[in-house]
């Protein structure tokens, strides 16, 4: 069994967060795990989070829709929904997140790297504030200096 691959996060701009990760399998397999609901729901909400996925409807094709419902019981469930605006098998999935009123867009690309897959996930928010809120929740209004910060952290913390 190989060691865990590193999950890297960078803030590309005021409105965009990018997460990259390598997977030990070909793109067609990683894509399958993202696009088949029965597989997707096995990993999207890790057990350690303690909040189960109550419903998972996914129609992963261009123009299709999805709806995910989280919660301990029906009364406290939270729904996330949107559309797949672009689905290219084994290489790209783009979807919208429409539950917040404002639409944010998530793009996932799968690149084959000799038996491994480089996954790049980008979340583009409608505004800088929405982006800040998405990762932070309470302290909105931060200037988008994450790229510089990342570079600095490498130098200062390491």
């Amino acid at each position: 069994m190989s060691a865990k691959n590193e999950t890297v996060v960078t803030r590309k701009s005021d409105r965009e967060l990018v997460v990259t990760r390598l997977f030990n399998g070909p793109a067609r397999i990683v894509f399958e795990a993202w696009s088949k609901p029965e597989l997707f729901q096995r990993w999207w909400v890790p057990k350690t989070l303690g909040v189960p996925l109550r419903a998972c409807e996914m129609d992963v094709r261009t123009g299709g829709g999805y709806r995910l419902e989280f919660g301990l019981d029906a009364a406290n469930a939270m729904a996330f929904y949107g559309k797949y605006t672009e689905v290219t098998p084994h290489s790209k999935i783009v979807w919208t997140n429409e539950e917040g009123g404002e639409i944010s867009v998530t793009t996932v690309t799968f690149e084959d790297r000799g038996g491994q897959t480089l996954l790049t996930l980008s979340e583009l928010y409608p505004s800088k504030e929405a982006c800040d809120e998405a990762i932070q929740g309470s302290a909105a209004g931060l200037p988008g200096q994450f790229e510089q910060l990342d570079a600095l952290l490498v130098e200062l913390v390491a």
């Binding site: 999950t7 997977f23 999207w44 931060l142 510089q148 600095l152 200062l156």
Partner: protein
């Protein structure tokens, strides 16, 4: 869940938004320096450098101490911990998911191998 102070983060990210100030942090990462030395290094007036250092001090990234006639600046080593934690929380969310995804990818790979074997 860790709570982050909005004002604190505003100050440190604003401090990092300037190339000279990032340069000063890097310079101080290599060792302490006086305002005069920093001003010379960045080809800047003493007053200009004092202002930059004041912003970094305000953000809690640098401390300075006047010894005799010289003001010496030092990096606060824990200065970026809160910001690092801020990104780390988001990264962990994805790392958790991806670890679970690793298992499924492994599972699918093995099934594929088995199927190939059967054919």
């Amino acid at each position: 869940m860790v709570q982050y102070s909005a004002a604190r983060l505003d100050a440190s990210f604003a401090a990092l938004s300037d190339a000279t100030r990032r340069g000063v942090l890097e310079a101080l990462g290599r060792g302490e320096a006086s305002i005069t030395e920093l001003a010379n290094q960045f080809q800047m007036t003493l007053t200009g450098m004092k202002k930059h250092v004041a912003v970094l001090e305000e953000a809690g990234l640098v401390t300075s101490e006047k010894i005799g006639r010289v003001r010496t600046c030092r990096l606060v080593t824990s200065g970026l911990e809160e910001e690092a934690a801020w990104i780390e929380r988001y990264r962990q969310r994805w790392a958790l998911r991806f670890e679970a995804l690793d298992e499924i990818v492994e599972d699918l790979k093995q099934r594929e191998h088995q199927n190939v074997g059967k054919e």
